[in-house]
Amino acid sequence: MTQETTMPLWKQDGAKPFIQIKNVTKKFGEFTAVDNVSLDIYENELFCLLGGSGSGKSTLLRILAGFEDLTSGQVLIDGVDMANIEPWNRPINMMFQSYALFPHMSVAKNIAFGLKRDNVPKKEIEQRVAEMLSMMQIEAFADRKPDQLSGGQRQRVALARSLIKRPKLLLLDEPLGALDKKLREETQFELVNIQDKLGVTFVVVTHDQEEAMTLATRIGVMGNGIITQVDEPRDVYEYPSSRFVAEFVGSINLFEGRIYEDEVEHVKIKSKEAGCNFFVNHGISCAPNQKVTVAVRPEKMKVTRRKPDQEYNCLHGQIIDIAYMGNLSIFRVKLKSGVIVRVTLPNLVRENRNPLTWDDFVYLAWDDDSSVVLTS
């Protein structure tokens, strides 16, 4: 992404949000799909709603599109209350997970559909469809029917169709879900470029945290109908606010412990599971002797055969599993308490003379600022 001299809108005080979701609740019978969610999304954002299946992320997206009525709450888009505005009158378009291309229409007709409904003059329709076809590099398929296209081509047609009306807001439901891994990576960057070029606000729903990380300006992590954390991708990863977020985004090692020294600029935590004491170089607001969870990402740990020169944050265990992934290797280390710790090491050299191997005893250590203390 380009370096911006100005602060992003969501960090500015008093910036006007483009989408305001206020205490929105949606119930299906007894089941609460979206539970009192409040969220502000700003102009030109590429906002990702990240969550597992049944987390309520798709329902929230459908609420924005106008396909679901609210049980309670309010949605404002550009300051306008959406309560009584039907889907076909909203300044919003959506790209569906299944793409929902009309099978009885050619690619060009699919793309022109939205413009025709607005009674745009025929000449202008032709011109704008042609522009869109060339932008998406699908000119060659203009006369084909959707079932004659590959998955990647269909995805482009769906994107073209949802962008042709130049909506203020584009909703994307798992936009890359149906593509294979290679194509997905390429398309990720393309999506970001298109968003940048057209200046449309994107709200993307995904269950794939990698996708969310690469696409998003901000991520909202959802679970059980609640948004648990809204932050920039780096902050979601490095400073998860809860156990749920820590476990959902990336992999992480969690240790139960109890605080035994609570100072303003540091805390010390005793953990039976880990078999060592933790030192965290910042204070946290907590009760004395409170039970907490210490979370450490697998790549933050250093692995050595010799005991490192540090009193805190140092585990000892035996390697029980190794997975070679090419660019990195994953080790599973079993501690004395039986807890299994996951560590990843980059494969910096091609041939290692003295590689770590099964049944080796190793020390795992990390810096004072590498762990996160979770109180919920």
Binding site: A65, P87, M94, H104, F113, R117, R161, S162, K165
Partner: protein, 317 residues
Amino acid sequence: MSKVTGTFWLGRYDTVKTRFSSLKKIRWGRYSVISIPSLWLALFFFIPFLVVFKISLAESAIAVPPYTDMFAWNVEDAIIDVKIKLGNYLYLFEDSFYLDAYLSSVKIAAVSTFFTLLIGFPMAYFIASKTGTMRTLLLTLVILPFWTSFLLRVYAWMGFLKKNGIVNEFLQGIGLIDQPIQMLQTDFAVYIGIVYTYLPFMILPLYTTLEKLDGSLIEASKDLGAGPIRTFFLITLPMSMPGILAGCLLVFIPAVGEFVIPALLGASDTLMIGRVLWDEFFQNRDWPMASAVATMMLLILVVPIMFLRNGKKEGVE
């Protein structure tokens, strides 16, 4: 291709060979599966049709059976006399009565098909929009009338529509009419009978296509700015065309040849080809003429269907 390694080549050859033999097996299986319905059609449709066609080329006679033979053996001169009468067909065109009957049948069938579609589509749409037990219940209700005899159900309509029937008494009861309306023995009653009887044949194929209709297509259309009515005509209707076609054929074809409904509910001047056929056979005992009428009816029905099928194939490709 040059021989790179022996084993590689052999391996390829082997797979080609096995593939070929399995292909053959599949073909055999296919033929045997198709042969049973083919045999059925030949035995119970094609051969009887040939018999009817042969009779239609004969001359009516007072005999058992009541028509002349096509082949006469002249043993002395060793000559086979073949006698083919085309007069029956010519007569179909000469006497406007037959043409009127055909046209009237097609008209009654077409109008009835239109109304079954008009009533059946919302019903099928409603059923397809339901889920679980409700859907099963509604489908059962559609099929339930089949459990009673067709004839009984038509008689029931006579009870409804006759002068002192339920409908007339109800209308008189609420003071809408003073005198009972003549409903039985009118074209109106025939339309009601046909629409009522053939409605399930329209609903079921419509239901199967509508049930498969991807709901996200409807949402996509609305999302792109088309309201419910436009969405219906631009997406729902074209997408359910296969079901509409199947349903219309299932209603139209038997309705053209319908005999029982116009005979029981219709007026004496309600002209339908099924009744003409019946009269030729049983009133006039003119089997060849009746056979000619039947053959013509088949032609009238088969030709448009073949056009439809061809059109559909092209549409798919």
